[in-house]
Every structure is written in C-alpha cells, then in structure tokens.
C-alpha cells in the first residue's frame, strides 16, 4: 500500500515566522488532502489537491501539489498561536484515505 512520509515530524517556530511542512509519496497521488488536528479533537479539513501544479490557499495557509503529483507542501505565512496543532496529509485510495504520521506544530510567542 502507498505510504505517505511527512517532514518534519515536529516543528517549533516563533510567532510571526513562516514555515513549511512536506508530504511525500513514492507513487503518484491521485488526491491529496490536508487536515489539521488540535490535541484531543477531531480533524478539520483544510484543502484537497488533485492536479499536478495545483495550489490552494485558505487564509494564511497555502498548499501545493508538485507537477509529478508525488509531493505536497503546506506553507503557513506569519504564523499565529491558532495555527498550532497536528497537520496530517492524506492520500485518496479507492474507498479510503491513507494518512501520513502527522507534523506537530508548536508556535512560541
């Protein structure tokens, strides 16, 4: 089965700084999802990418899918405390999503 590798596993940044989280697959991605999870809570859907080179933005969060459709990046501009949490990428399979291990983001004041 296809595996998604996220990097870094954890990230600590100072409030106001930019950051990038990566999600890499060994095979072509036919649908890539980004979710955010606060500790002890459910996942919140952020964005879905399907086309090579596609880029979507939601407030200060931008996600891109590379042309080969094997890597996606999530970029946060001018990070805020509300951005803290676990970010997960997920790949669309026939009937289900397969998730990466997640990236834990901490924002320091």
């Amino acid at each position: 089965s296809q595996e998604l590798e996220q990097s870094p596993q954890s990230l600590i940044v100072q409030e106001g700084k930019n950051l990038t989280i990566n999600c890499t697959s060994s095979k072509t991605l036919y649908g890539l999802y980004w979710y955010k999870q606060k500790y002890g809570e459910g996942l919140i859907f952020l964005m879905m990418l399907q086309k090579g080179g596609e880029e979507k933005s939601h407030e200060k969060i931008t996600a891109k899918l590379d042309e080969k459709k094997q890597q996606s990046s999530l970029h946060i501009t001018a990070s805020q405390p509300s951005h803290a949490g676990i970010y997960l990428c997920g790949e669309q399979g026939a009937q289900k999503l397969v998730f990466g291990q997640g990236t834990r983001l901490t924002i320091n004041p």
């Binding site: 649908g31 999802y33 979710y35 002890g40 809570e41 459910g42 996942l43 919140i44 859907f45 879905m48 997960l88 669309q92 026939a94 009937q95 289900k96 999503l97 397969v98 998730f99 990466g100 291990q101 997640g102």
Partner: protein
C-alpha cells in the same frame, strides 16, 4: 448543513468489558462512514468503513466490530476489550469516496 456527532467524548473501561461507541450524521443521506483509531504517537489507522446500511468493510482484523443499523448511524463495538484497544477513536463521513471526509470530535478510550 451537515453535522457529525460522536459519543461519549471520553471513556474508561476495564479489560474484558464490552464497548459501544456511537456516531451519527445529520443533514445528508447515504453517506460513506468511517471509523479510525489514533494510538499515542501513531498516525490514523482506518478500522472500518461503510458505503451503505448493513455494508461494513474491515481494514484490520482485530478485537473490534462495526455495524450500521441505520443510514446515518455507525457503531463501533467490542465484546471484550484489550489493553491494546486504548486510543483515540474518530468517526468520519463523506458524500462519496474521493470527496473530503469530515470528522467527529473523537472518543478517548482508556483501558485499565
């Protein structure tokens, strides 16, 4: 708008006891339904999914079972809980496969 409800929010159970977690979706018909488990320090693991009433697909053989007695109701059960069943259980729904899944708030299950 669609909403998903999952309960209880937290549960502490002794080893060997039964389990029943419930998930309901409102505002949509015939959704795809999913049960995931998130163990400490690990990613989300899909346990079961359902594309219709009475239709359950199991992803991982284990001590758990799932049922869908009604269109928008999904239940996760166990006859005898094991220590390894501890974790954070999440229910999710989607309109169809290939569309975003939307998650409930989760149930934190601790086995003593």
């Amino acid at each position: 708008s669609q909403t998903i409800h999952q309960w209880p929010a937290t549960l502490v159970q002794p080893v060997g006891s039964p389990l029943s977690l419930e998930c309901t979706v409102e505002g949509t018909s015939n959704p795809n339904l999913y049960w995931y488990r998130q163990a400490a320090g690990r990613g989300l693991q899909l346990l079961f999914y359902s594309v219709g009433i009475g239709q359950i697909s199991s992803e991982v053989p284990q001590n758990l079972s799932a049922s869908r007695p009604q269109d928008r109701q999904f239940i996760l059960s166990s006859k005898k809980l094991l220590l390894s069943d501890s974790g954070f259980y999440l229910c999710a729904w989607s309109v169809i496969a290939g569309r975003p899944q939307h998650f409930g708030d989760g149930t934190r299950l601790s086995i003593l």
